[in-house]
């Protein structure tokens, strides 16, 4: 894809459109500064940001005094406001860290104390009888109950941040991998991509698993990221009645994750996962038989009622870990301007609780820029992004009114998630012009239900054809080189052929 680039000079370039890059982009759009985001994928949030549990953590898992602990607590406490501005689905459903044996109770107490030191509110240790009341299907001797822990949709969040930033003037270049960075002056960078080069005075490196390599392009070799994969099952919405809270095991500090847990999603599904496995390839998002079997077994230990008939899909995410495999555990976020390369801020090792911490991290990064540059406010900044109204979630009166106002609401395209033509067209017409099927799926929820697009895929393809005159080669699952089709059926059958 070739872009027409009106002006390749920017004040600041953000490398990587994950939740961190998009938060920083949106935060910067509050000020008068010319910002662009370069993203190698065909849409935002396709790395770890869209591939996690979607939990807004309370902040009791992290060591007091760390950035992880501070930003997590801040992020949790300020999330309601962001959710309101971006019209994000967000629910404080609370979390239970469940001790299965007496000897784990000590760890619950330690977590509670740690959480309180970090500033987490309302933590409580509850007994087995109380667990039964809250979660009748669950087994456990005691639990740490954290009512402040919440859920959101991580890809919805990332997309909304990006679209809001776009509406406030930030430019996004998708399908634009960074291949090289030249420092032509101490404070002037040229960023080279396959299609164009971009100039800026500031660079923000928030390339997730690739942040070490991006830093390497300017000669900083101090960072190393170890990709660590986590696999998940997605369960049918019919499983949603099985649990009401986030259900976690007592974490084992030597592991680099929080343990395999059960997560109700904001859309009403349930997740099992993630596993925790260091891998070589930073983009090997494949799932494995071995791990899937383990996830299933672990989930059944918690909830014997879970059955494989609830499985509708699975996926994997990759943590950007600073701690090497032999060490494991968590290392604190690193957010710094390396002394050898001023004007470039590196965000290294932003793993869990990165989703929760994204906003405080963005504020920190912007404060660092402000200190150097002296930013002035953008009077036109609009923090609100209404997003796509979900027909299925409205009451009958509203549904009636919506169809009356726009008959496209009366055409249900995705039967499982009851997504209407109106919502799919809004998803197709997104401000980032990301039109892969996955982009439409993440924005509309079409194809996410139990039939996984069996009913609606061909209908969505028809809409793309009607709207943007798509030819067979234009239908992409997830960007270039992922065509759904190889052409028309037979020569001569279709005039376009």
């Amino acid at each position: 894809m070739i872009y027409e680039i009106p002006n390749r000079k920017f004040d600041l370039i953000i490398i990587g459109a994950g939740v961190i890059g998009c938060s920083i982009a949106r935060q910067l759009s509050r000020y008068k500064i010319k910002v662009t985001v370069l993203e190698k994928n065909s849409d935002v949030g396709w790395g770890s940001s869209g591939r996690n549990s979607g939990v807004i953590h309370a902040g009791f898992n992290n060591k007091p005094g760390t950035l992880m602990a501070n930003y997590c607590v801040l992020g949790n406490q300020s999330f309601a406001q962001i959710a309101q501005e971006l019209n994000l689905p967000y629910k404080k459903i609370g979390k239970l860290v469940v001790a299965k044996k007496e000897k784990e109770v000590k760890e619950l107490k330690r977590l509670k104390k740690q959480g309180e030191t970090n500033g987490v509110k309302n933590l409580e240790i509850i007994e087995a009888s109380e667990i039964k009341k809250m979660e009748p299907n669950l087994q456990g001797v005691a639990a740490l109950y954290s009512p402040e822990t919440a859920i959101t949709s991580p890809y919805h969040y990332t997309i909304s941040l990006a679209e809001n930033a776009r509406q406030n003037g930030v430019q996004f270049f998708l399908n634009t991998p960074v291949q090289g960075i030249e420092r032509i002056k101490p404070d002037k960078f040229i960023v080279i991509t396959p299609y164009a080069s971009f100039q800026a005075n500031y660079l923000i490196n928030c390339a997730g698993v690739y942040s070490d390599q991006i830093a390497g392009l300017v000669g900083i070799n101090a960072y190393r990221i170890y990709p660590c994969r986590g696999e998940y099952f997605i369960l049918d919405k019919k499983a949603s009645s099985l649990i009401q809270h986030l259900i976690y095991p007592v974490p084992h500090p030597e592991e680099g994750g929080l343990g395999i847990h059960l997560t109700p999603t904001i859309d009403g599904n349930v997740l099992i996962g993630p596993s925790n496995e260091y891998i070589e390839d930073k983009e090997d998002y494949s799932v494995t038989r071995k791990v899937l079997d383990k996830l299933y077994q672990k989930a059944q230990e918690f909830l014997p009622v879970i059955s494989s008939r609830y499985f509708i899909a699975n996926y994997a995410g990759i943590r950007a870990k600073q701690s090497p495999p032999e060490q494991g555990g968590f290392q604190d976020f690193l957010i710094e301007e390396n002394p050898t390369v001023p004007n470039m801020i590196n965000l290294i090792g932003i793993e869990s609780p990165g989703l929760t911490a994204a906003q405080p991290i963005a504020e920190q990064v912007v404060a660092m820029i402000d200190q150097k540059e002296g930013l002035s406010s953008n009077p036109d900044f609009n923090p609100y992004h209404p997003g796509i109204l979900r027909f299925a979630e409205q009451d009958e009166e509203t549904k009636r009114r919506l169809i009356k106002e726009d008959s496209d609401y009366g055409e249900i395209i995705c039967r499982c998630e009851q997504v209407t033509k109106k919502e799919i067209l809004q998803a197709i017409d997104n401000p980032l012009a990301a039109r892969s099927l996955i982009s439409i799926k993440y924005r509309s929820r079409a194809m996410m239900g139990r039939c996984q697009g069996g009913y609606c895929l061909t209908r969505i393809m028809e809409l793309l054809k009607e709207r943007y005159d798509f030819k067979p080669e234009d239908f992409l699952l997830k960007g270039p080189e992922s065509p759904l089709l190889v052409g028309y059926r037979s020569k001569g059958v279709n005039n376009d052929d």
């Binding site: 997605i234 998002y285 069996g454």
Partner: protein, 412 residues
Amino acid sequence: MMIKKDVIIIGGGAAGLAAATACRRLGIEDLLIIERETTLGGILKQCIHDGFGLIKFKQSYTGPEYAQKYIDQVEELKIPYLLDSMVIDLSADRVLTVANKEGLHKFQTRAVILAMGCRERTRGALSIPGNRPAGIYTAGVAQNLINIHNYMIGKEIVILGSGDIGLIMARRLTLEGAKVKMVLEILPYGSGLPRNFNQCLFDYDIPLYLRHTVVNIKGDKRLQSVTIAEVDEQGRALPQTLKEIPCDTLLLSVGLIPENELSQLAGITLDPVTGGAMVDEFGQTNIPGIFTCGNALQVHDIVDNVSLEGEQIASGVAKYLSIGLSKKIDLSVQAGEGIRYVLPQRLHYLEDTIFSFRVQRPGHHQTLVFKTNQHLIKKKTFLQVNPAEMIRIKLSAQELAGLSNLKVELEL
């Protein structure tokens, strides 16, 4: 505003059309078919191969031709239908909420016939490991893209599962110039109809590997290869048999699931084996006045049987509306040795009843028996039985009289 109807049929495919025409012929005037698509006919529209109608019409038709026979009758009988309309809610007191471009409509109906058909089992439901590239389709979606939309989906194809749609698509893709490398079936026998193995695979030299499955999928963007393996008795992959097969397309034909999300909203009890509702001899569910037939009730292999089932429930619907159905007996029907399931699950009215069922595995010279306690009611010997072929056997009211339970099994 509540619109009142005597009967609403949800779904204008093979089952719904047959049920509607049969209801009208029994004198039910106030009928309405609700169809979510732009035309009637359901899945038959994309089944452009022939072989439909051999039982009903003693002649082989294509899917669209077969559907048209019923659509013509619907038109002739002036049965009203709503197109492009989706039922989004159904309550136990038979109130339907329907969305279409004109608005949100409420119907109160005396009887409902659920004829929503079925959907395909997906990769996610099977939890096949590996990557998630483009080029993985269920057989029915591939059929739709090729036959309805004139697209071509790939060049080098591997098909997992030997269900009928997969077999039909193996032939279809071959005729369109693709190379179908193989069909894999995890079971030691095929899942589709025997005639389809001959006409769609063997006639085109497409190899069938029994006791094989896909254990890994490679390709980040478009599918590059699948890893296949032979499986043991429990269906577990045998590590020494792993083989990587380059291909750009994987088609899944791994089973169909009756579509009963609406039924569940109304509180209808489902049979965990069939995935359809538990029914009596009139196809009535546990909720009075809600009937079901076709692939929403049980997945069929032959459309003619879908039509027959749709037609058969009409008499129950007519009685329900005119004199009401009053229970005479309460007889439970069970699947015994060698039988996967049997329908109907309960009998209440002492009527001549057609039982439909499937065996668990293929066999030769098998004798099927209907028993009550240890007493033999009926016996029939088959030269061959096959899980792919639904068996339908009628028992008369006389044969059923006086029974308190009934078991269908294969004699050992």
